[in-house]
């Protein structure tokens, strides 16, 4: 991939994140004011100090004015971006590149989604006028095809795989139960998860991400200015993004056990950050666990597990809160909830807390140590065979 990377040229100096929940009493403006307010406070800046803004929302508003109005910005450039469920990460990417380019000294990335005003369960995309031939399947059904494909390719018993997937959900619920900002703050056993009726393929409702309203925000500055804002900035090590061309859906060679777009972004991000052994070098990862089979495959696509070994590593607790590589210590999409435009920045928010030692003690990971100060965030949008993928890496130590 032809990326050069901007390792250590931009730093994150303040972040905010609302609780993710069914905020029936809060609107988009309220969520934005909350998340941005936290970030302004953390970075000790005002709206005027920020030179430019990027607002990610999939479908909770159009144009930069969605942010300019509640923040009462005066003469500021605000760009609204959308990249499906990776929208929050896209906002970050644009803000960071804007600072790296030298165009601005201080920029802000904001993500927001007000999902629960639709009146429907689940996530529902606005219909675009079309010829009526497009697939109308839910994401749950598309991702449900991953599990049997994985079981067949690697000879895993379907019942055993179901237990592995339930263990992923149970782990994320365990972590989310220790997170006051999470949508679901309740532990759920693997047995309970397995007992839920199927909603799509073999997936039960607890195999699916929570659907929530929420917002998150980050203030980014030139790395050399970082300590003017905070004593403990996060340095951006890598940002990689791929928009798939959708050929996976029509390619008879595609077998639904891997997401090639994710593999590409992971390889690119590791190259940008100089990471060669992600499982050992990363202190944690936040990944896009929209459905339990997604997280399983991501463990392999991100290079944490060998091909066909991910299910064993899950069973062995490698990705538990106190495992070898904690994955989704904040509860993930599963337990934290998934306000589409905010999720990418929510992932970064957990890295912000954990790497800087600010996470609550009950879910503080033990892997952060001298020489192991990196966190990865992985955010995707779309479906097996046609997705966008983002991988970012941040760290507390400039190289």
């Amino acid at each position: 991939m032809g990326s050069h990377g901007i390792r250590d040229r931009v730093a994150i100096v303040g972040m905010g994140c609302t609780r993710f929940a069914e905020h029936f009493d809060l609107g988009v403006d309220d969520l934005l004011l909350d998340a941005c307010g936290q970030a302004f406070t953390a970075a000790a800046v005002t709206t005027d100090d920020v030179d430019a803004y990027w607002l990610g929302t999939a479908q909770s508003g159009m144009s930069g004015m969605v942010l300019a109005k509640p923040l009462r910005l005066e003469g500021k450039p605000v760009t609204r971006v959308e990249n499906m469920c990776a929208t929050g990460s896209e906002a970050l990417r644009q803000a960071v590149y804007a600072v790296a380019s030298g165009a601005y000294d201080v920029a802000m990335a904001v993500g927001v989604e007000k999902v629960k005003d639709s009146g429907y369960a689940g996530l529902n995309a606005y219909p675009l006028p079309g010829d009526g031939t497009a697939r109308t399947l839910t994401a749950a059904a598309m991702f449900s095809m991953v599990a049997p494909a994985y079981a067949e390719r690697y000879g895993v018993d379907q019942g055993e795989l179901k237990a592995v997937l339930a263990r992923i959900a149970a782990k994320n619920h365990f972590n989310g139960a220790r997170n006051p900002r999470a949508q679901f703050r309740r532990e759920v056993s693997a047995e309970q998860i397995c007992a839920m009726p199927a909603v799509a393929g073999e997936l039960g409702v607890f195999d699916c991400a929570g659907v929530a309203d929420g917002a998150a925000a980050a203030v980014v500055v030139r790395a050399e200015d970082a300590h003017r804002y905070t004593d403990s900035p996060l340095y951006v090590k890598a940002l990689s993004f791929v928009a798939g061309n959708g050929t996976g859906l029509s390619d008879p060679g595609y077998d639904y056990t891997t997401f090639p777009e994710v593999v590409r972004t992971a390889e690119d991000a590791y190259a940008q950050a100089g990471v060669t052994d992600p499982r050992a070098e990363l202190a944690m990862a936040e990944v896009h666990d929209c459905f339990t089979p997604t997280e399983l495959v991501l463990m392999e696509d991100l290079g944490f597990s060998e091909r066909g070994q991910g299910w064993k590593d899950v069973e062995a607790g490698v990705y538990d809160l106190h495992g070898e590589l904690p994955v989704n210590p904040d509860g993930g999409l599963k337990s934290f909830g998934h306000p589409v435009g905010a999720s990418g920045l929510r992932m970064l928010f957990e890295a912000w807390l954990q790497l800087r030692g600010e996470s609550p003690e009950e879910r503080r990971i033990a892997t952060v140590a001298p020489g192991r100060t990196l966190a990865l965030t992985h955010n995707l949008g779309g479906y097996p065979g046609e997705m966008v993928s983002f991988v970012g890496i941040v760290g507390t130590e400039p190289s």
């Binding site: 219909p127 675009l128 059904a141 799509a200």
Partner: protein, 471 residues
Amino acid sequence: MRGVLSHGAYLPYRRLDRATIAAVAGAGGGTGTRTVAGFDEDSTTMAVEAGRLALRTAPPGVDAGRLLFSTVTPAYVDKTNAAAIHAALRLDRSAPALDVGGAVRSAAGALRLALDGGPPTLVTAADVRTGLPGSADEAGGGDGAAAVLVGDEDDGPLVAELIGAGAATEEFLDRWRTPGDVRSKQWEERFGELHYVALGEAAWAEALSATGLEAGQVDRVVVAATHGRAAKALGRRLGVAPDAVADDLAATVGMTGAAHPALLLSSLLEAAEPGQVLALVVLADGADVLLFRTTDAIVDRRPVRPVAAQVAAGGPIDYGAFLRWRGMLTAEPPRRPEPARVSASAAARNGDWKFGFVANRDDTGDVVLPPAPGEGHQQVPMADATGVVVTSTIDRLAYSPSPPIVFAVVDFDGGGRLPVELTDVDADGLTAGDRVELTFRRLSTADGIANYFWKVRPARLADHPRQEATA
């Protein structure tokens, strides 16, 4: 000489056991089964299926220069339904596509008009027969479609030549339906019977006299009637041998309305031998009689999906689902947004794909579905392709007129893959490796606009092998 070049019939997969009706409706029902159109089928989609089958055995090089479509239950009025059939069958742009609709007799009339002359004409008819729960129409009706390719012997070898025809017309009230109503009503039965028997006898005599044949020389006759008692009474008075009167499919299929004349003709033809005299009698607001003599060509051009094979290949549907599918019982819809209406301009741009299921080859030569954008790609018509299920799932969340959605990734023989919705299948009735075929369906309806596209269904019926001529 003019006659039948090829023919085909389509029966939907589901069968309602009439004995299950009375327990719910309090009355009605009876013995045997009726065919039931899928929730995603209408008269247009079934006519497409019948038309595809008829064209499969058309003489090489014969293209339909005209398309006629009859139904009592059109998807649209004011808009021509035959246009979608024309598009799905990929008929030539110069071929007119016409609805000859409104009443069952229109279907018999369309066949007669096509036999009068003109270019090779594909005569299609289809119906979804409805009635109130417990009614005779509900139990006695059936859903289906049929298509007959009519032409001159100069167009290609005929499987049956028209040798005589007769008609009789009177204004009298037997059945009627107000446009938009879901049911027909019927006058006292004996009144209609008396009229129909007299009309039938008059048309029969006219047709026979045109041929110079005696009734006893007719090998097989079938009566398609909107009036069951009249059909039976007329059958006894035609002067043919008792066993010459063929099955009208009432016990297994039901009376399929506008589809019935061509359906029964196809059923007669598929079982006929060369040199036989066959008669189609239609009683519907008058009487029409068509007399055919089969030719040697009939042996080589049997339908690939005979009616008899389709009758035997149905799967059950419970009465509750039948009522929901026909809109007689309104069930709670899924709490998901209903589909948006189809964009007319987008559908027109992508008509080859949407209606014709035409894929293309990309720069590497691979078959791509949906077709790859850009210029210069070779078109690949795929509607007759069969394929195999690679993996499948059941979506219990997505909006469907009849949840859950059964969905599969299908690899087509000869190349190409498409993730696509299944139909005519039970939720647990699909496994990887199953073979599937394409079928034209109405996916949804929004703002009154029918959204037509293709699904796949299990390939339950192997194509009937073309029979070798016997000594």
